[in-house]
Symmetry: C2
Subunit: 157 residues, 2 copies
């Protein structure tokens, strides 16, 4: 969890059937549901809901990072960018970078880690970028010195 | 699409089966997959993936707003907050507020609208809050005056 460290979290892809199945349930817009309608949209052909793309990134994150950590969920994201459409069969690779970590004032047994996720397709084009926070169990609870530092930072900001 | 206007976009809910089905595919963490494991997590019992909660909000947005508009997708969100867990059977109501609208420099036939989404459970607790942009077809293309104003704003910022 060293700030600045980057690693690859694997590769995934999505089929036309999976795109339509997800869209029917969570994002039933024509360009996610129907090839013919998608041809006439700004995307040019059937593409995945941005929420499904985010879900694919989450799955890689769970399988290749969170499963090995004491993850306690996330309070949210500071940004989420859908930069390019994701089409059936695209080979999607996820890169994860640790940006920052700090203790959590209300829960000394929990640490907060800010990360960036970047997903690229087989052409090297970035399709998704997210930045946000995750909560993790700490091996050792935050020390009084760390908590005092947090309080000082809060008072100064 | 008047800035400041707010409307309710309906109510939805999710079952334990749907929570597990989504999690198995996109977010296989123990507290989204298994009641017993969830009891020992910080959430106290089985709860939905935050990505599924966002998907539920998207579905209400499509059904009760986007279907009636010339929606062209979204470039992304400026924030996404998972404020409370969503449990099976929670009654989730979505509120949508228009924050801002402007022309799109590169596509005079497209407008950008910034919105806030807030989802509340049956106890009135906010479970999800998102802010971000949508792209919409315009009835009339942006006028030269609007595009000149955009350029002036960009030059000043």
């Amino acid at each position: 969890m060293t700030p600045g460290s980057t690693r690859e979290l694997g590769t995934t892809s999505v089929t036309a059937e999976e795109i339509k199945e997800f869209a029917a349930k969570y994002d039933p817009q024509p360009f996610h549901l129907d090839e013919e309608a998608a041809k006439h949209s700004i995307f040019g052909s059937l593409c995945a809901s941005g929420w499904q793309t985010a879900g694919l990134a989450m799955r890689l994150t769970v399988d290749n990072m969170l499963k090995k950590t004491p993850s306690k969920g996330s309070p949210g994201l500071e940004s989420l960018k859908w930069l390019k459409p994701v089409y059936p069969g695209d080979q999607l690779t996820l890169r994860h970078t640790i940006l920052e970590q700090k203790a959590m004032r209300k829960r000394p047994d929990t640490g907060l880690v800010r990360s960036r996720w970047e997903m690229f397709n087989q052409d090297g084009a970035k399709v998704l970028e997210m930045e946000g926070w995750g909560m993790f169990g700490r091996r050792e609870p935050a020390t009084p010195a760390e908590l005092a530092q947090l309080d000082a930072q809060r008072a100064a900001s």
